[in-house]
């Protein structure tokens, strides 16, 4: 029995949260949907962990769904790249759900909570599905599952603007998904296959056709919309800001990361770096957009008054860092980009969790609410400062490690590298500006009269927040795990073609 389960780990990775979703929906007893979701997320995390260990030596795990051998059936394919991403996503899922109980109770009325949790689990299943599948069309399917469920999740936001934000996201998300679908259709037309590994072997014969070039463009743009790469980022700030706190935490730490994975997978594994960067000018486009993303994202963050907006724009800038790493087109650069995916997920989760604590007590997260919060909510604010220092890239936090590797990777490039380095550092300085604005208000302003009585957030919210705050420091000091995993992932990707 145990052996059977172990063999089916890749299937369980997706099936667990997927099957949990209807369960949450059916069992509408108070508190039960949360419990089911939480336990399932822990099991899902355990599965990710086992998968991660199984492929850590560089093996590739191929699983034929339903026993239909690839390339005819759907193949799940686990390697060092996606196992690292899955570990991250399912880990964030656990922390977000730990936070969810109290936070959701205060933000979403009881009778809708079961729908909320089933949408949440669907979203988790969708994201993990995108990561694990080796089938290109399956990517689209899971992309839609995760996107549709996240529209639902965002629309749960208390603020009425959540609805327009959802609508905007829906339009953009659908355009993105459709573009990917069209790209896939072109590829299928030319090769007759949808399995990624199979595509990779068949594509070179037809590489010189305009159809494939068009397919490539569609897929890259589609993935970039999902990734919120500048200038395709307009859906992100509002979606993050008006969603319920826990949804913001989860989406900010996962969904754009998974979109980056899609981009990496298609560009490096399916099309191959030679085609993408040799034949197509992808490197220059990505680098240019990434640089603009860092500058505009960080600059916009400086001028926001809603703290969720500040962090959302900061995310746009941070996505730029990841893409810079990718666009350097070396193993070190790619490793730095992937490392930043991991590190950024941790610190952004920490920050949004802290904001969630503030929102729980204040009912909003505008900069005025932060006056004197260093005194009234010391633990929340301390976690926020740790996350903020991570964004700046202070030593002993994860942000520093990312920055170090990005700069090292850029340094190997000579003159172009120097420009890149200066962009990375300017972004870092802008982070000082937008983080410190909040810190200053929190610690050196007195709270207004009615806010002075507000108490620290409850433990149920502080514990997940501090798990991420400590992770921000832990992975900034004990870096071998993340650095080795990211380097392995990058080597896998570069060696793919």
């Amino acid at each position: 029995m145990m052996n059977l389960l172990l063999d089916d780990l890749p299937a369980l990775q997706v099936m667990l949260p997927l099957l949990c979703a209807p369960l949450c929906f059916i069992l509408r007893i108070k508190g039960l949907p949360w419990l089911i979701a939480f336990v399932t997320s822990i099991l899902t995390f355990a599965v990710s962990f086992m998968l991660f260990n199984q492929v850590a030596d560089g093996d590739i795990l191929s699983y034929a769904m339903g026993g239909w051998a690839p390339p005819w059936g759907i193949e799940y394919r686990v390697d060092r790249l996606n196992s690292f991403f899955m570990l991250l996503i399912s880990g964030i899922g656990v922390v977000a759900l730990l936070f969810a109980r109290k936070s959701v109770d205060s933000e979403i009325i009881a009778c809708k909570q079961s729908i909320f949790y089933s949408a949440f689990m669907l979203c988790l299943a969708g994201l993990l599905g995108i990561l694990i599948t080796g089938d290109a069309f399956n990517v689209f399917v899971f992309l839609e599952i995760s996107a549709l469920s996240s529209y639902v999740l965002i629309s749960f936001g208390q603020d009425r603007r959540a609805l327009t934000a959802t609508f905007q996201y829906l339009i953009m998300g659908t355009i993105g998904a459709t573009m990917i679908l069209i790209g896939l259709g072109f590829m299928y037309m030319m090769t007759g296959t949808l399995n990624m590994a199979d595509l990779a072997t068949r594509l070179p014969e037809v590489m010189n056709t305009n159809t494939i070039r068009t397919a490539f463009a569609f897929i890259v743009i589609g993935a970039s919309i999902k990734l919120a790469l500048f200038p395709l980022h307009i859906w992100l700030p509002n979606a993050y800001s008006y969603a319920p706190s826990v949804v913001t935490v989860f989406l900010a730490a996962t969904s754009t990361k998974v979109a980056l994975y899609v981009l990496l997978r298609f560009v490096f594994t399916v099309f191959g770096a030679e085609f993408a960067f040799g034949e197509m000018p992808l490197q220059h486009i990505l680098m240019f957009m990434a640089v603009l993303a860092v500058l505009t994202g960080s600059l916009c963050a400086v001028f926001q008054t809603n703290i969720k907006h500040v962090l959302a724009y900061s995310s746009i800038g941070q996505i730029g860092y990841m893409v810079i790493g990718v666009a350097l087109l070396t193993t070190t650069g790619l490793a730095a980009g992937i490392l930043h995916v991991f590190n950024h997920a941790i610190m952004k989760a920490c920050l949004f969790l802290a904001i969630g604590c503030v929102y729980y007590r204040h009912g909003s997260a505008r900069i005025e609410d932060f006056k004197g919060i260093g005194k009234t909510m010391p633990w929340t604010m301390a976690a926020f400062v740790i996350g903020g220092l991570g964004l700046i890239g202070m030593p002993l936090t994860v942000g520093f490690i990312s920055k170090w590797y990005l700069v090292i990777a850029a340094m190997e490039q000579g003159a172009i590298g120097a420009v890149t380095i200066s962009i990375i550092l300017i972004g870092s300085l802008l982070a000082v500006a937008y983080v410190w604005r909040i810190v200053e208000v929190a610690y050196f302003n007195e709270p207004t009269k009615e806010k002075a009585k507000i108490k620290e957030a409850p433990l149920a919210l502080l514990i997940p927040t501090w798990i991420m705050a400590l992770a921000t420091i832990y992975f900034g000091i004990k870096t071998d795990f993340s650095v080795i995993a990211a380097t392995n992932a990058a080597t896998t990707l570069m060696g793919a073609k």
Partner: protein, 496 residues
């Protein structure tokens, strides 16, 4: 070797752990002021003693080292005690005791709020300063350097007023900007070129490294270490004077600016090395930048009427001396620079203590209001006089020696212009410092102040007494300091 209760390695770790423990205890007993301050004093004394234990090991050329582990695979977080760091650690930990005594008097006399936060951040700053002093490589140094910036920010913004917040914002932004934009890339570049960031006497760069790259690197380092306040990145120091006076003492004498020039010296001696440094054309540029920084800030100091602002610009000028000496890359100048760190620390802390005493006792901040103050506060003004002499470099104070060696250094390397800069600057020092005690003693009292003035609370006077004695003692017995400083150059000879 005599019997010691603990090993050198443990003493080194303890000297860094003690301030941390102190900070924790201060937080715990924050609402009992007497106990809180007893803890700080005890912690400070214990820290100084554990640093002192290390002195014997360093004099025997056997400084302990300790590796915390790899921060980045291949790059360790590591400590190693050597003479220069030893000297810096001794000054910082000793002056922590004195500043604490002073701060107790000042904070109570002035009825400041948030005193617990003040003492916590102060203890943390000392811990990080010792981390800078004992850092065995550039990465470790950078880690503690940034932590020092962060831990001193709440001290500068202490008052919480708009003005204090603005000052603290400038403080933080300039220090972080320089360290992120110049210092960090310089460190990564060093790692990229040399394959290591471990300090080694005589430098770490392979012989074939291009001089153009090294020149750019040198400039990045000189401006990147913003704490050394080389013009034009000096604005944070005058801005930070909004802080309470004990904090100014911490910034100007105990930790922050000293950490800056210490880092510069350390990089020149242990990363570049004297031989390489003299070959770089960029070195000459930076020499003149340092010279200009010395002269310009002295000139600005003359125009300041606010006492703390004048002292702040004086500090910028004195830091230029240390940077200049480090860049000259010749034995006497290195010794002079090293000694000047100590001499300036004692001189400037005395002056700031006096400024704080005047503020607490008479609520005066402007120099023009201090006429005739010598009658009411003779001790304070006398201390100010001695402190000024040390900054100017006149006997019977310690500043004499360091300036002597620095001038000798510029003469030996044939930089006559720089020699002239140093001389003119000394004259300017006289012009902006000595009139203050002179007017206080011989000037006519202003009409308005009929109120009875008396000296500041006794803990403040005690602290001033110790630092004044220090200034004079360093003149009479400079030998230990000189020996420690010349170990840097002698080892270089042995190794080279």
């Amino acid at each position: 070797m005599e019997m010691l209760p603990i090993s050198f390695e443990k003493a080194m770790l303890m000297s860094m752990a003690l301030p941390l423990i102190t900070a924790g205890l201060v937080k715990l007993f924050g609402n009992k002021p007497n106990l809180r301050e007893t803890i700080t004093l005890t912690g400070a004394t214990a820290t100084f003693l554990s640093v002192l234990i290390l002195l014997e090991a360093v004099l025997n050329n056997n400084g302990p080292s300790y590796t915390f582990g790899a921060l980045i695979p291949g790059l360790d977080l590591k400590l190693q005690v050597e003479p220069l760091g030893m000297l810096f650690a001794l000054i910082a930990s000793f002056l922590w005791i004195i500043t604490t005594i002073y701060a107790i008097g000042y904070m109570r006399g002035n009825k400041e709020s948030n005193q617990t936060r003040f003492f916590i951040c102060f203890a943390l700053a000392i811990c990080f300063t010792l981390g800078i002093a004992f850092a065995a490589n550039l990465l470790t140094l950078f880690v503690f350097y940034e932590l020092l910036t962060l831990s001193t920010y709440p001290l500068v913004a202490h008052a919480g007023t708009e003005k204090a917040k603005r000052g603290a914002r400038i403080y933080l932004s300039i220090l972080l900007t320089t360290s992120i934009a110049f210092f960090l890339p310089a460190i990564i570049w060093t790692y990229h070129m040399a394959g290591t960031t471990d300090f080694a006497l005589g430098g770490i760069f392979p012989a074939e490294t291009g001089h153009l790259a090294l020149g750019i690197l040198l400039i990045l380092f000189c401006f990147g270490v913003g704490k050394a306040a080389l013009m034009p990145f000096h604005r944070w120091l005058p801005s930070a004077m909004v802080a309470p006076t004990p904090v100014s003492a911490l910034l100007h004498a105990v930790a922050v600016v000293k950490a800056g020039v210490f880092t510069i010296l350390k990089i020149m001696v242990f990363v570049f090395g004297a031989d390489l440094l003299t070959e770089l054309p960029a070195r000459d540029i930076m020499l003149y930048v340092a010279g200009a920084s010395i002269l310009l800030s002295s000139l600005i100091a003359i125009a300041q009427d606010n006492l703390k602002a004048r002292l702040a610009y004086s500090t910028i000028s004195q830091l230029g001396y240390v940077t200049l000496g480090a860049l000259l890359a010749i034995d006497v100048a290195t010794v002079g620079s090293t000694m000047h760190i100590a001499m300036h620390a004692f001189g400037k802390i005395t002056l700031f203590f006096c400024a704080g005493a005047i503020y607490v006792a008479a609520k005066k901040t402007e120099i023009s209001d201090m006429r005739g103050l010598g009658k009411a506060m003779p001790f304070t003004m006398f201390a100010f006089f001695i402190g000024s002499l040390s900054i100017i470099g006149l006997p019977p104070t310690g500043g004499t020696w360091s300036k002597w060696y620095l001038m000798l250094g510029s003469l030996d390397t044939g930089h006559l212009i720089l020699m002239g800069v140093l001389m003119v600057s000394s004259l300017l020092n006289i012009a902006y410092l000595l009139p203050i005690p002179m007017r206080a003693f011989f000037g006519k009292e202003a009409e308005a102040s009929k109120a009875k003035l008396k000296e500041a609370p006794w803990p403040m006077l005690l602290a001033m007494g110790v630092t004044v004695t220090g200034c004079i003692a360093l003149f009479l017995f400079p030998q230990p300091l000189f020996e420690l400083a010349s170990m840097l150059t002698m080892e270089e000879k042995v190794n080279g």
